[in-house]
């Protein structure tokens, strides 16, 4: 078990080291001069040069890379040249919006998709199954930003149950903040519900055909026990894998959902930083995402171990 975790951790660290090189290379070759973005079209060449020197944009690539990595290792993320504030604070503030949003969407997706998938598999080939499959088809087809706009029109503009957007802040208004995440979480989860429902359904169909399910039924176990105890537990392995993958997509999808709902989340930060050529922010956010995805994958690996003893034995 310990050996398994160590190996996974080592692989994650190597991936991370490679990711820093790739991220740095991509961000540094982005066309556009950050000094020109800051100083605008009236800037004189001498002011631009002074600005570049001030922020170290004129240093050789290798020096800038080492400087950045040095900062990361000493947990100093530097300061944003667009906002003038510390990158750590910027990212922290934004994660406080995006992580709960992503988590909410994921929880929603799991809560909706697993029962739906189980139901569809159980009612395989009937109207109930077709209904669920029809719903997933729609869920996959609808772009989540459009669904978001519909939700705003219905629940914020017409019925005024939820705010149309914005985020009051956890400290200022914790309940209002939860309120502000309900609709975006829903909009973000729709596609994922559809995907997870399908995955759950097909995984359930597979396990329901297994011998042990037949045995369970033969020995007279009640249907609920067969479904949830015998079939579902095994079906959850592929579902968990896909849910882990989806966590990454949720953060990507958050960029556009945050824009529709005016949430100051990490997606918006990346978007703005790319437009401002706020290189240090882009690099650190992307690396942070990489770490997050690596962590999620690590957790998924651990979840396998809990759900399925085979990796444990192999280790």
């Amino acid at each position: 078990m310990l050996d398994f975790i160590t190996r996974r951790l080592a692989a994650a660290l190597v991936t991370l080291a490679l990711a820093t090189v790739v991220v740095f290379a991509i961000v540094e070759v982005l066309p556009g001069d950050p000094a020109l973005v800051m100083l605008g079209t009236d800037a004189r060449p001498d002011t631009l040069a002074a600005m570049r020197a001030q922020y170290g944009f004129d240093q050789p690539l290798m020096i800038r890379y080492l400087h950045w990595i040095g900062g990361l290792l000493s947990l100093d993320l530097g300061s944003s040249h667009a906002y003038g504030t510390s990158v750590a604070k910027l990212i922290g503030d934004r994660l406080a919006v995006t992580l709960p949003l992503g988590a909410l969407a994921l929880v929603w997706a799991m809560l909706a998709a697993v029962p739906l998938g189980v139901f569809a598999a159980w009612k395989h080939g009937t109207v109930g199954d077709w209904g669920v499959m029809g719903f997933t088809q729609i869920g996959i087809s609808i772009p989540n930003f459009w669904f978001g706009i519909l939700l705003v029109l219905a629940f914020a503009v017409t019925w005024q149950i939820f705010p149309a957007g914005g985020f009051p802040g956890w400290r200022q208004d914790p309940l209002g903040s939860v309120d502000a995440l309900i609709l975006p979480g829903l909009a973000l989860s729709l596609g994922e519900i559809a995907i997870l429902t399908r995955v759950t359904r097909s995984a359930m169909l597979d396990t329901l055909r297994e011998d042990y399910v037949r045995t369970a039924r033969a020995k007279g176990a009640p249907e609920s026990r067969v479904l949830f105890r015998h079939a579902l537990r095994n079906a959850l392995i592929p579902v968990t894998t896909v849910a882990g993958l989806i966590a990454g997509f949720l953060i990507a999808g958050a960029v556009i959902i945050e824009s529709v709902f005016r949430l100051p989340g990490i997606g918006q930060l990346v978007y703005d930083s790319i437009n401002n050529r706020d290189l240090i922010v882009i690099k650190n956010v992307v690396i942070l995402f990489t770490i997050l995805v690596l962590l999620v994958n690590l957790l998924v690996d651990l979840a396998y171990v809990l759900l399925d003893p085979r990796p444990r034995i192999a280790a």
Partner: protein, 497 residues
Amino acid sequence: MSISRRHLMGAAGAFAVFPAFGPEAWAQAKDKVVIGISLEPPVLDPNKNAAAAIREITYQNIFESLARIDRTGAIIPGLAESWTISPDGLVYTFKLRSGVKFHDGEALDASVVKFAIDRLFAADSTVPAKSLYTDISTVEAVDPGTVKITLKSPNSYLLYNIALCDAAIQHPKSAATNDKHPVGTGAFMFKERKEGDSITLVKASTFRDAASIKLNTAIFKVVKDPSAQVSALLAGDVDTFPGFQAPELVERLKKDSRFAVVVGTTEGEVILATNNGKKPFDNLKVRQAMAHAINRSELIDAESGYGTPIGSHFAPHNKAYIDLTKTYPFDIAKGKALLAEAGHPNGFEAVLKLPPVGYAQRAGEVIVSQLGKIGIKVSIVQLQWPQWLSEVFKERNYDLSIVAHTEANDIDRYARDGYYWNYNSAEFKAKWREVLAATDFAKRDELLKDCQRIIARDAVNGYLYQLAKIGVWRKELQGMWENSPTPATDLTGVSWK
């Protein structure tokens, strides 16, 4: 399915009881206004970054300059209550207002003004608008209430430049931290900022005329997505968008009796920027042919009808404006003939590089079709803003582009060497020197008309239309600027009915 629905209903029920911060907020507090902005300012110091959004929040509210641009575009006294200009146009003497205090309690005097103006043109200055102030030779604090600015050569726009937010008077004690926590002399002081979300200002007790200020709190809320802007207004989360960016969505708001939709003017000339240094655009006949192919009313239709046709690089509401839209009237046959004369009877191919802004996107497709009618096959390349700045503006690596030049009085760009249009006219440069040297403003207006004629005749760029300012606000909100003579959201005269 039933499980998911029950879950959702439960959540909706549970949260419905919590007070949402939306619909009623504006009704309760009549001394608070929530202003929607589509672009988030990076820092909050106009001396550190060129973004118009900084000026839209800070000008007159937080920062003041010696002179002030009012809602009509006129220059009126600001921190200086009066000034005199020497007959040769070289010496400006400003008499400062007394009793002016910064938000941190520091007093304004001539030494502070000297500090603030000196750093605009200092050799090591990184102020974005430095080029506007390099004609200044010295700034002297004659006595605590008098400042004398001496120029190297006359500049009839100096007063205008001094009135800009770029020349905001900042105090030496707070100048270094004004990017994050701006401290000025204005009626409102900075309270807090939530990056990516909002900037809150509150009435400044230090303001010399605090009794005249009706608002206690002003929150600038960043809402980038146009449909989110509409829903923010409809849901009551935002009281006003002084510069609403999506003309195609305005109809929806016009139908709502809660809002006033006010169409005013801006200083933004939308042009088909043309690389005069590149073949075949270096040929006057080619540029004239293109000018004949442009149908301005079609372009303005693409803006849902908001916009005023222009025939030169000059704002129609300006006193010195002349209508030159008929210089090369819309005439496809004439355009084709001119192209043939220029040696392109079958037209040619060109690339239109577009920045990611709504008007450019809308006009881009129309221009492709219009130029196509005289045989110029235009393909569109989309650029991010930083790319546009580097590729089109700095490196001048482009054929055509569409962009709004939003600075006031920016016809001077045609006199600049190495500007991205690659236009080089000794005649225009000489004329512009006369404009700068003119101390008599009536004479200056005549010279400005000549300037317009020269660039219209040379068809330097395609002159399309003047951007409109679409302001949307609650009907009870009064005192908002209907025009945009300079980037500003001056709240000093704003109140609730």
